[in-house]
Structure formats: C-alpha cells, structure tokens
Subunit: 338 residues, 2 copies
DNA sequence: TTTGGCACTCGGACCGGTCGAGTGCCAGGG
DNA sequence: CCCTGGCACTCGACCGGTCCGAGTGCCAAA
C-alpha cells in the first residue's frame, strides 16, 4: 500500500512534469515542494512508485515521469477539480450569451473550450435520440418531388428531398401533413416508427406508394440524425504537444478528422458525469499519448450530448476538468432557456 | 531577358526541389535532366537566375531553391496542368456519385481533394448570392411563434425562429405564406427585398407588425447566408510540411480555423478560372510559406463557390492544379444534375 | 559562349572529453 | 523502523575540433 507521503510525492511529480515537461528528479522535488523530507527519502519513495508502475524513467539516470497509471491515480485520488476564476466564468457567460442560434452556440462553445484549456475542443451537436418532434413539414417542389423538413425541440432542422413514385396532389399532401403531425408532434424519435406504421393504409391506393416513401425517408432521417455530428477546434494547440512533432501529431490529426472515432471517444463518457480517458485507455491507437476529458451536457437533467477536450496525457487535469465542467453547465443553461 | 535554356534550368530546379525537398546544385541538375550542357554552364545560368530573384541559396555554398518569384514564373510559363490519370478520374466519379445530399457532396469533395493532393483541402458551400428562392415555408409553432424555412435552388435549407409581436392566426399565416411564395419563388436573393417591400400594407392592421417581423427575418437570413460557410479537411497532411514543424505549422492551423481568412483566400480567385497564390502573395502572415490553389465551381456556367487546397509553396503545382480542376468540374456536374 | 580546372567556403557528421543531474546503495542516527 | 547523508556510478547534453563533400565563383582556354 502507498503511504500518504508517497502519494504526495506522486502528486508533486505530476504537477512538476505537467509544468516543466521535463523528467523530474528527487532534488528538484524537495526544493519546489515542502515535503519535509530529504531527497534521499524521496528517492526511496520514487523507487517504490516506479515498482508499482506509477512512474517511469525515460532512460537510466534521468528523472521520472508519470505513467498512464500514475495519471490515473492522480485524477482519481489526488486532484481536485479546479474551479474557474471569476473573470473566466464571466468570459464564458458573455461569450455564449451572444450566440444567435444552435449552430452558433456550438461554434462558440468549441472556440471557448479551445481557448480556456489551450487544447483541442470537441463538441457534439445536441443529440436527437431523446428529443422530440416539434413539427414535420412537407413541401411540394414539383409534381413528383417533395421536400421533408423535420424540426426538433432542440431547434434543429433537417431536410430531405423525396422523389415520389407517382404525382401527389396538393390535397393529399395537406392531408398527409396534417395526419403526420397530429401523430408525431411532441413524441420522441424512438416512438415515431410505430406511431406512423399504419398510416399508408388510410390513404387511397394511388397515394400509398408515395406515403410509404415519405415515411421511410422520415424514419431514415430520424435514424441518421441520431448519428451525431460534431465540431472541433483549437487544433493549433496541438503544436504545444512536444518536440517530436510529426510522429505524435500526425495520427492525432488523422483521428480528429474521423468523426466515428471522435464520437466513440465522447460516447464512452457514459452519463453526464465527467470522464477522463488517459493514454492507452483510449482504444484508438493514434491517441495513445493523448487524454480525453469529456462530459455530458443537456438542457434539463438529462444529458443530450457530450463535449470535451483532447490533449497530451501530460495536461493540467484539474484545470481542464474545471473548464470543461463549467462550460458544459453553462451551455446546458443556454439550451434550457431557448 | 531569360534565354530558353535558363528557363529550362529553372523548371528543372523547381521540379527537383519539389521532389527532394533539398537545395539542388549544378551537378545534380545536369545528371537528372538532359540539359545538354555542363555543370559549369548551369552554374552561370544559376547565377543569372539568382540575380533576377528567381532562385536563392539558403546559405553560401549550398544548392539553390526557388523563390516565390521563381514559383510564380514556373506556374505562369513553365508548367502545364497535369491531367489526372484514368483511375484517378474514375475514383472521383465513383466517390462523388454516392453522395446523398448537399452536405454530403461537400464533405466528400473535401476528403477527395485532400486525398488526391495530399494537402489541406478547403471547400466553400455553394453560394447563395446568385441562387434563387425555391420555396419559403412558414410554420406556426406556438400562437406567437413562427418558424421560417428558406429553401434555395442549390438545395440548401435555412431556418429561423420568429417571435411575433402579436398572435397570428392560421388563415393569416396561410395567406402570408401564399403571397410570399408567389412573389419570391424563382427570384434571385438580391431581388427579394424590393419584391416584398409593400407586403405589410396589404394585411390587416393587427397583423402588420408580425408580417414586418417575418419579412425582416427573411431578409436578414438572405444576407447572413451570403456569408458563406466552408469545410476543411486533410489537416494531417500538414505534417509533411517540413522538418521545422512547430514554427511553420502553427500559424497555418490557426489561419485554417479562421473562416474569415479562408473565405478571403478563396475569394481572391476572381472568376471560375484557376488562381494560384504563392507564398507572400497571400496577405495573411501565417500563410507566407504556403500556396493556395483555388478555382470556382458551379452548377451551370456561373461559379457559385470556390474550392481549393492549401499547401507548402514547395508543392507539385501541375499535379495539384490538375486535381483541383478535375474535382471542381465534376462537382459542378453533380450540382447541375441534382 | 561553353568548358574544364582550381581554390575556397561552409554545413553536417563524427569523435572525444567534460559537466551535471540523477540514481542506487549503504551505513549511521533519531 | 524510517530517515538521512555520503558516495560511486551512469548517462545524456554540451562543447570544440576535425574531416569530408557538395557546391560555388572565377579564370583561362577552346
């Protein structure tokens, strides 16, 4: 078992390494932290910590750096989430308050997170899985061409073109529009399929094909939109990574362009509580030297989407977690208001 | 004036340097290109080229590298746009053909360009300045809350929420919707303002406030949407830049996140002809060691937006230009069809 | 105008020595 | 039992010197 002081040593190592980016030795530690013991003692502690796998030395006779396991222990037991300063909080508020629509909220959130944490920010658009239908609109663009517009309660709008198998009259269209809305408005996406299942039957034979087509496009849209989209920013912060650039940064940039990978990353944060994935805990191989701090955010008590940052394993965890949490909370408020 | 052979020497220097990324000397040149003269002669030519500012040496007794001016001359006079190979062309077609909607076309185009050129790709969403209104829809979400949906002939959809000053009846709504559409459908954005100017007058006094509000939101949307959005991809290719990473790559990444900067870059390509901006020709200071190859694309004969790539000044201009042009043409076709 | 020859320059690679930070181990003291 | 100071050892970073080769500029001859 690790004594109190050993943990303290680990904390000191993490803090120093995060700050200096250089392996930290026993002497430097005792000078910069009031541990109350001599370097020699610290060395012994370090030896134990190394044996347990919390720290490692890059090469013999060099200082120690934390391992993934060390960071893990640090964020789990040793680090308090650092609340933001007053000015920072005010900056968040004023910056997000001036957003004009949903897209803008997301865009601003990304920039904000990137600036606050000086890392790469990732924000998922509010999810539709739990959201409800506010309105479905059908427009006739040409005799056999319709446009479907789906509006959600999170303020998102999706549209699809529909080529009908047969011309579709204005009256039939109005009819379909009315019936569709009366059935699905206010309902959750997941409930929609069964609610519209029998709809084609109530139409004239000649219109049934079109109605079915419309419905299938609608359902498809619901499903597709459940695959969330996201926005990233602050990639320039990757240049602060280390000195061995090309090798480190390349796979990260590649991973960041793969929506799927990112969605998985964020998705792993289960509920609305904060999740920290460190180094090799990230399945994706390009991200084994990065950490992901993610948290759910939402308009009410339920989380509707995730946001977070991606940075080097050597990052300021308390500060980053504080910023991520604060931003998530305030975005939630914004969404609840609108 | 520069003799024919001197130009040939410049061309050889550019080609070699683009390939090897290393300063090229007189001897190497004569070996790799059939210039029919000795290294000594080439040296003399090089001296002249250097005096004229087309090439430079990084340090004394090193080979020469082209200057921005040298690249300029190269693309203007010495380089033929390299047509794509058959397989490449087929790849473009099959990749873009499977796009399902406008967003998808843009997304695929970005990925395609990034892959083909192995550089950073930038694609502007089709512009609305020259496009026309296909449909305007008004939905009643609550007694005093409307949603405006604008559909353009390029397949783009924009929506806005409207808070009305007074409740607005369904019949008035239908009325407004009908009149609005009869006036603006098929018209260009720029013509819309005067076409709807007198619309409020034809309504009952109690509805006029709402009608005005709706119209102002519509006009606002038209203007806002003229500010184009764009999509970028292939940033991982920046890692192939050079060996002196952080310094070079950082400002580029920053510039790429500034929509304004990028729009300006693309915007400088005046009409639909291809534009190449080399090094310092780019106003933005972060991009002084990059070149931008851009071209307009459009559904008909008019260009509705731009696309292009950003890469190091030392890039394969003929190949890049070929790829950019080919992609632009085919995207144009796709847009024309849909 | 081209060519071959020649002296010169300079950056990069290589080598060896020194320096200092850091370690592990051990014996002694609270 | 744990902490401490001391000591020998290791190893990377740094520095200066040397060597090598690529490349240049100049010049005289063809």
């Amino acid at each position: 078992m690790l004594s109190e002081r050993r943990l303290e040593v680990l904390r000191a190592i993490v803090q120093d390494y995060v700050g200096t980016e250089e392996p930290v030795g026993s002497k430097a530690l005792t000078e910069r932290h009031r541990l109350g013991v001599s370097p020699a003692t610290v060395r012994n502690d370090m030896a134990v910590l190394e044996e347990e796998g919390f720290i490692a030395q890059p090469h013999t006779s060099a200082g120690r750096i934390p391992t993934d396991k060390g960071y893990r222990l640090f964020v789990d037991k040793l680090a308090a989430v650092k609340p933001l300063s007053g000015p920072e909080r005010r900056a968040i508020h004023s910056f997000l308050d001036s957003a004009v629509d949903l897209d803008d909220v997301v865009a601003r959130t990304v920039r904000l997170l990137a600036q606050l944490t000086r890392q790469v920010a990732v924000v998922q658009y509010p999810s539709l899985t739990r959201s409800t239908v506010r309105h479905v609109e059908l427009l006739s663009l040409a005799p056999a061409r319709l446009m479907l517009v789906l509006i959600t309660d999170t303020g998102r709008v999706e549209q699809r073109m529909i080529d009908c198998p047969a011309p579709f009259g204005e009256t039939s269209l109005a009819d379909l529009r009315a019936r569709l809305n009366s059935r699905v408005v206010g309902r959750r996406f997941t409930d929609v399929p069964q609610l519209v299942q029998d709809l084609p039957e109530s139409f004239e034979a000649e219109d049934r094909g079109t109605v079915s087509t419309v419905l299938s496009v609608l359902l498809e849209t619901l499903v597709e939109e459940t695959e969330e989209r996201l926005m990233i920013g602050g990639t320039a912060n990757l240049t602060r990574f280390g000195h061995d650039f090309p090798l480190t940064i390349r796979p990260v940039l590649e991973a960041l362009e793969e929506q799927v990978v990112l969605l998985k990353l964020l998705g792993e944060a289960k509920d609305s509580s904060m999740t920290v994935r460190i180094g090799h805990e990230n399945a994706h191989e390009g991200l084994t030297s990065t950490s992901v701090v993610a948290v759910g955010y939402g308009s009410g008590d339920e989380a509707v989407a995730k946001l977070g940052v991606v940075g080097p394993t050597r990052m300021d965890y308390p500060g980053t977690m504080g910023a991520v949490r604060a931003v998530a909370r305030y975005v939630g408020q914004i969404l609840a208001e609108s």
